[in-house]
């Protein structure tokens, strides 16, 4: 394996892993504080049990997210030293603020986990809110740094040198808002549906139905609202990419030739050799409309860009299709949940619960697919139009060995964390 490929795979692998844990660690505190709030209001013992169960989940995921995040903060430099040498000072600001937000989160977590029956009730609950808010702030800041790689700003690039650096402008780059909005909603959708699905499974199996129904309702409310809002954010993102990174948009849609009134392809198999997309459903004019709000607008095709500036089309296209398909499905499922609140008898039907069990992993699959669109779609650039990924990689050979080590360690960790969660739920169900 080439060093560059190994480095890219290692980065992708560790990011895919970190994203799951970071999202859960960022969103679950909100479920926890809602349940905690209900306990304080109603003094219903089930809410206390649930809060404490979720708190253990938060602690485990926070740490896994934190250590994999620490690893990533080093990996940026270990794998991409040339990138960090130039980009580090420019995009340092969101990272230093993220460090501060993360610190606040760790402090709040210390208060929350160890503060039961020791801190004043309201203050204790409030530290839980701080965990959630600082987690979301961290997420937004890191995404802002990624946004800079897609829309580099806050410097002048003259003769291969980065001059007149403005870190604030770099942080508030044109992509930060659309990406952060899309990612925050995605995190809530993915975690909401995943947690709801786990509790739905317990209800489906008839274990502590009252407790798990309460848990399901809290989690799915967050997930459903986020899923329903997500298409709006997706539309803003699409229009933004159409303007800033037209080649990425073309790859997402496997759109090879520039045309007016471009059709939207749904599904299909891409053949990059013949530049054909087979077995697709084409909606005339729709791509032009989605990208520019005009059915007749011209959409640039991949062939308008030099060959060495195009990303891998099939990967980006399939990932994009997966994301959008699942996103649509989850939005419908979210609406279905709100309908079910009116039709109470659905809650007694096994099919209802099974439906949400099956949806559990989909949010995260969509979220990862979305990141594949962003990251693979930016290639061959590490900084869009400024620095190529191959020029940023470490000169140290043999990265493939560290890649294999990371695979073994992270896969083992994933298995271990899953196993721990199963044990948590078993104990929760046994303690009636």
């Amino acid at each position: 394996m080439e060093n560059l490929d190994a480095a890219r795979l290692q980065m992708a692998f560790t990011l895919i892993f970190h994203i799951v844990f970071a999202c859960i660690g960022m969103v679950m505190p909100f479920f926890m504080v809602v349940s905690h709030y209900k306990w304080l209001k109603t003094k219903d013992q089930l809410y206390l049990t649930l809060t404490k169960a979720w708190q253990k989940g938060v602690a485990i995921f926070f740490v896994t997210g934190a250590v994999s995040g620490t690893a990533l903060s080093f990996e940026l430099g270990l794998l991409w030293p040339e990138f960090m040498k130039h980009a580090g000072p420019i995009i340092g600001m969101p990272f230093s603020l993220e460090g501060a937000a993360f610190f606040v989160e760790a402090i709040a977590l210390g208060f929350y986990l160890y503060g039961w029956n020791k801190l004043p009730e309201k203050f204790h609950w409030f530290t839980g809110v701080i965990i959630g808010l600082s987690g979301v702030a961290s997420g937004i800041l890191v995404v802002a740094a990624n946004g800079w790689m897609n829309s580099p700003s806050g410097f002048d690039y003259i003769d291969g040198q980065f001059l007149n650096i403005d870190p604030v402008q770099a942080m508030l780059n044109p992509a930060w808002f659309t990406q952060a909005l899309h990612m925050t909603l995605a995190a809530f959708t993915a975690t909401g549906f995943a947690v709801a699905g786990i509790h739905a499974y317990q209800v489906y199996k008839g274990r502590r139905v009252a407790l798990h129904t309460k848990a399901f309702k809290i989690a799915i409310t967050f997930g459903a609202i986020a899923a329903i809002l997500q298409p709006i954010s997706g539309d803003i993102s699409a229009k933004d990419i159409a303007e800033r990174q037209p080649v990425k948009l073309a790859a997402m849609e496997a759109h090879y030739n520039t045309e007016k009134g471009a059709p939207l392809y749904i599904g299909g198999i891409v053949n990059p050799e013949t530049q054909e997309v087979k077995y697709k459903v084409a909606i005339p004019g729709m791509l032009s409309f989605l990208a520019f709000g005009d059915f007749d607008a011209e959409v640039k095709g991949l062939n308008d860009f030099p060959e060495d500036e195009r990303p891998n089309v099939p990967i980006v296209h399939y990932a994009f299709q997966t994301m959008v398909g699942i996103g649509g499905l989850l939005m419908l499922a979210g609406l279905l949940y709100f309908v079910s609140l009116k039709k109470k008898k659905w809650f007694t039907k096994n099919k209802y619960w099974l439906f949400f069990v099956l949806l559990a992993p989909l949010g995260f699959i969509a979220l990862e697919a979305g990141w594949i669109v962003t990251e693979v779609g930016r290639q061959p650039w590490i900084i869009h139009k400024i620095m190529r990924t191959k020029d940023a990689v470490t000169p140290m050979p043999g990265i493939v060995f560290s890649f294999y080590t990371y695979i073994v360690v992270y896969l083992t960790l994933s298995v271990a964390v899953t196993w721990l969660m199963i044990r948590q739920i078993k104990v929760l169900n046994a303690n009636k």
Partner: protein
Amino acid sequence: MLYVVLFFLIFSLYLYVVLGGADYGAGIVELFSSEENQKITKKTIYRVMGPVWEANHIWIIIMIVILWIAFPAYYNILVVNLHIPLTIVLLGVTLRGVAFVFRHYDAVIDNSQKLYDAMFKISSLITPIFLGMVFGGLISGEIKLTEDVSSLSFYEVFVQPWFNVFSILVGLFFAALCAFLSSVLLIGESEEGKENIYIRKATIATVVVFVTGLITFMYGYGNNFVFVEDFIKDTYAIVAMLISGLLLIPLWLTIKKGRRVLSRFFAGLQVFLILLAALISHFPNIIITETHRVNLMENIAPDSVINVLGISLIIGGAVILPGLFHLLKSFKMIKILDRNSNPSV
């Protein structure tokens, strides 16, 4: 502003060495304890470190972020030439962190605890050794800076800088220092009547720190290491080391009298003086390579970046430090209350 940034860099390095070090040290103390004492230590560590250990480890992130923002050229040498030990440190940090949480948050207590304990203890020892090897590597004079990596062998560029006698000695010295800090901390936190376990550990750790430190110096001196020669010529460094050594006397007196806060203060001050001595003798030439010294203050980021970073750090510090202080203080009181109301825990 540059000095604000520099202050925060050294401040986070110091706090990481003291707080993170005590944290690693706790695992080392547990590793070198009898089976019965391991159980006691495990409980004590959980009580002492539980609420704060995550915060302790964030200092290294702050440090690395300051490095890459403000001193990119310096950071570049670190991540390219010391890639391998840093990767091992990261794996150690990862395994250690999850093992700590697993062993305290696993809903079922069974044989898997043994695995978590082993993971925690072993990574607690290996991680600071490799971290120390990174520190050693930076000043060993073995780093080879070259534009053309292929002209040298893999071993020369990527292994030799850290895998040499001097760097390994620094690694062992650092791990011993962690164990020393932790034992002093644990003396004040132990259950009634168990203080002696940690007083014994602290004695052994002090001896190991002294011996590894001395061997490191003698080896460095005997082999004409630039770092050691600079150090010996520098009066301030020597005075700092001497004071650090003399502080052992008040340290032991305060431990004997049970003045736990004061004893921690002395131990922290000793480590500060050691760090100061190591930095002062060759600052700002923090990296010593085969052919020359790399000046930290050259090749820094432009003023606009340094200014924004400095302001962020001041604001961040103003938010974090009081919160952190409050956290440490709250749980100190809670722990004392706990111990009084429930002596068996």
